[in-house]
Amino acid sequence: MRKQLSLKVGISGVRGIVGESLTPKIVARLASAFGTYIGQGQVLVGQDSRPSGTILKRAVLSGLLATGCQPVEVGILPIPTILFLTKEKKARGAVVVTASHNPPEWNGLKFIGSDGLYLHPAQVEEFLDIFHQGEFTYVSAERIKPGIQEKNAGETHLDKIISKLKVNTIRPRKLRVVADCANGAGAILLPQLLKELGCEFLVINDDLSGSFAHKSEPTPENLKELSRRVKEFKADLGLAQDVDADRLALVDEKGHPLGEDLTLALSVEQVLRRRKGPVVVNLSASMAIEEIAARFRVPVYRTKIGETNVVEMMLETGAVVGGEGNGGVIWPEIHPCRDSLTASGLILESLAETSQSLSEVAASFRKYHLVKEKFYCPAELAFRALVELRHRYQRENVSTLDGLKIIWPDSWIHLRASNTEPIIRLIAESRSAARSQKLIENFKLEIKKIIKRLG
């Protein structure tokens, strides 16, 4: 069997195994290509807590300096903070050394444009053309500009969030919070945010030495410690960031993990309470969003999976809030990106304003049951199976924006082939857990039959 290649160069950046496929040389070449692409000017350089970041950051700095950019080192910071700062500081762009949820031996680079957004696919294509052509605009020695190191750069982001929240409502409640930072960069800012909001809090997994206490996705199975600590601390809620600090999951005061889709629902509701306007979510987000939007009489737009797609549609429609069902909340008042710090602020504000407990708030959304499943299927077969399914269900309400989504009056299923792995993902939602599970099982069986016939 062919050895699996570990270097991934794609629209969301570059990832690889440090030392094996992601070498300092490749990283320096990528940074030189990026410097060539965006032109000379200030470029933010950030990193996550992975130890190999120390090595790769230096290769990034070298490539940027050689192409005449002035690197502004902001150190370990949450991804949303770096996106925010790129625009705030009017930088030409930013490079972040991070591999998000990949295992510790991985690392990677993400590239951000001057608007504080990830390069969109067309920009990535232009940038990668430069990388592949290998002709970089190295400047002569006298045009090399020494870099700057900025400490506490993240405070500007916190200041912005706090300035937009109803701090006078939140502070007097003295909410008790346990925060799980997943040993990610969120640990740099979340405790300070909680302090500013008058919370009494306990932080766990905030050590940034590069070892991870649990897998970084804030899914219920990874939140056992948080659940236990919430009960011990008699907290009003638990906040769980993912390692990039762009997604947020919640644990209620009884220690029950609430499911990431609820973070989005609660945040959307809180923003709409403040200001009505369009909502944008991806195809896989819960029906609860439509229900909330109906209450406020605002439209919901659905997009393909991927943060970039949601952000783009939000900017187009002038949405007041949006996000993804995986706990990625986007509040453009702060910055058009998924941000667990912003989401934490909105959730705390919602609890303070409604004076309900989180389990009571959650109960009103308990009627929806979202079930996720995935199984192995090569990309080519997956594509053909989805085409066939589409024909079979053409009389139903279907969307083919991204894979296949079939929508019934009070349930739906979304099937799509992964971009990065040979798997099919299924997500179903209905008003009963059993029914959602049944939907998944039925479709799984149906697809497998089709694959067997095609294969």
Binding site: V18, P24, S140, A141
Partner: protein, 449 residues
């Protein structure tokens, strides 16, 4: 033409053309692969490109599994001293010495703090040419230690080895031009510890070079007029990494960099009489000094690496060359501007003589240097062709072509650092030396068409 010079002790080129992050990472990775596990020091001169190169070097060394002590802007001789203090397995000094500001270079140092010798250099190039820089997977957390003020431990060592009370008592007034190189600011500390009054120009390590960072009379005009205007006792010019010195007398006479070696030798050999190593291109003034002390004089190839290697082999007291770089056995095996300056002041203090008096016993020769730009692939064959010009001369071909004639010698060689043929002639007669150089230059120009 893109300039890149590879030699056994380093790689040198023009920043942005050949000196790019990728190239630096390849070389530094090859060096890391050659070294045993352990700590590696990284220092640089003040060139603006130094930071870009330093980051690439550190990334490469960390990825070959080494710990790094980052010395920042630091003279090469201090890097060389600290290698031993820290028991490092090696070091990389990022400096192009006397080359103009658009150049830079990596200089590889072994665990003794000396430039790689011939054998280490060849092994290193083999690893580089093999091109397999497969890095190990990260086993532990990469460590970079930033050492601030690395000069302090060095100065406290050095100042115990020179007679600072005597120097201090002499109350010298010293004019120094570190050329905004790595020696800038450090000269303040150094001369204040020696109790000298200091007048320093171009004394910010900004990397902006007011003139080529090459210590020689052409660049010494400002120092000379300051010495005269302030009544200074001596003037010093340094190169960008503080490894070479040229001198200006109390009268404001700008001495050729060839004088540094014979002047300091006539003092140092009193404390440590023993063989002296120099290069084929260096002035015969040193022959006179060696004769006076009755010590052997050994001539070898040009460059710090070759000289230090010969110094070790011959158990010599000192090694130095006409560029103004000198190393002393009782101090360290490195060309070191601070030691040279200290010893010359010590000499003036102990002998209570002016610099112009100290150079008077040296024979007056006339040394003429010229150079011809030449495609790198023709360098050595052109040098060899020059044999035809001198059918009857005594020939030494250790480093290019060295010809001993009656009352004159001529050295024709390919530069280690640039695509140049260098032609040097020395004779008691200025006319004669110029004549020989002109003869070779016009011959080479004809060959180059």
């Amino acid at each position: 033409m893109k300039l890149l010079k590879l030699n056994i002790s380093g790689v040198r080129g023009i920043v942005g053309q050949t000196i790019t992050p990728e190239l630096i990472i390849d070389f530094a990775s090859a060096f890391g692969l050659m070294l045993p596990p352990g700590m590696v020091l990284v220092g640089r001169d003040s060139r603006k490109s130094g930071l870009m190169i330093q980051e690439a070097v550190i990334a490469a060394l960390l990825s070959t599994g080494h710990e790094v002590i980052n010395l920042g802007i630091c003279p090469t001789p201090i890097v060389q001293y600290l290698v031993k203090v820290h028991r490092a397995v090696g070091a990389i000094a990022i400096t192009a010495g006397h080359n103009p500001g658009d150049w830079n270079a990596l200089n590889f140092l072994n665990k003794e703090g000396t430039y790689l010798n011939e054998f280490q250099g060849l092994e290193f190039l083999d690893i580089y040419h093999l091109g397999k820089f497969s890095h190990q997977k990260l086993k532990r957390i990469p460590t970079v230690i930033n050492e601030l003020n690395p000069e302090e431990i060095y100065f406290s060592w050095l100042l115990n080895k020179i007679k600072k009370e005597e120097i201090s008592r002499a109350k010298f007034k010293v004019v120094v031009d570190p050329c905004n190189g790595a020696g800038s600011r450090l000269v303040d500390k150094f001369f204040s510890w020696l109790g000298c009054e200091l007048i320093a120009i171009n004394n910010e390590p900004s990397g902006y070079f007011p003139h080529d960072p090459e210590p020689r009379p052409r660049n010494a005009g400002e120092v000379a007029s300051l010495v005269r205007a302030t009544g200074g006792n001596i003037g010093f010019l340094l190169n960008s990494d503080a490894s070479r010195v040229s001198l200006v007398t109390e009268n404001g006479e700008t001495l050729s960099e060839e004088y540094t070696l014979p002047v300091v030798a006539s003092h140092y050999l009193k404390q440590d009489p023993g063989p002296v190593v120099t290069s084929l291109s260096t002035s015969r003034m040193i022959d006179e000094v060696a004769r006076k002390f009755q010590v052997p004089l050994i001539r070898t190839r040009v460059g710090q690496s070759a000289l230090i290697q010969a110094m070790i082999q011959e158990q010599a007291s000192m090694a130095g060359e006409g560029s103004g770089g000198v190393a002393f056995k009782n101090f360290q095996l490195a060309f070191d501007a601070f030691i040279i300056m200290g010893l010359i002041l010590e000499m003036m203090a102990l002998e209570q003589k002016k610099l112009s008096d100290l150079i008077r016993p040296l024979p007056r020769y006339h040394l003429v240097k010229d150079k011809i730009i030449c495609p790198p692939h023709r360098l050595h064959s052109l040098v060899a062709e020059c044999r035809k010009l001198y059918p009857r001369a005594e020939i030494n071909s250790l480093d290019g072509l060295h010809l001993s004639l009656k009352d004159c010698w001529v050295h024709i060689r390919a530069s280690n650092t640039e695509p140049l043929v260098r032609i040097i002639a020395e004779s008691p007669s200025a006319v004669r030396a110029q004549l020989e150089v002109d003869k070779v230059v016009s011959f080479l120009n004809r060959l180059l068409g």
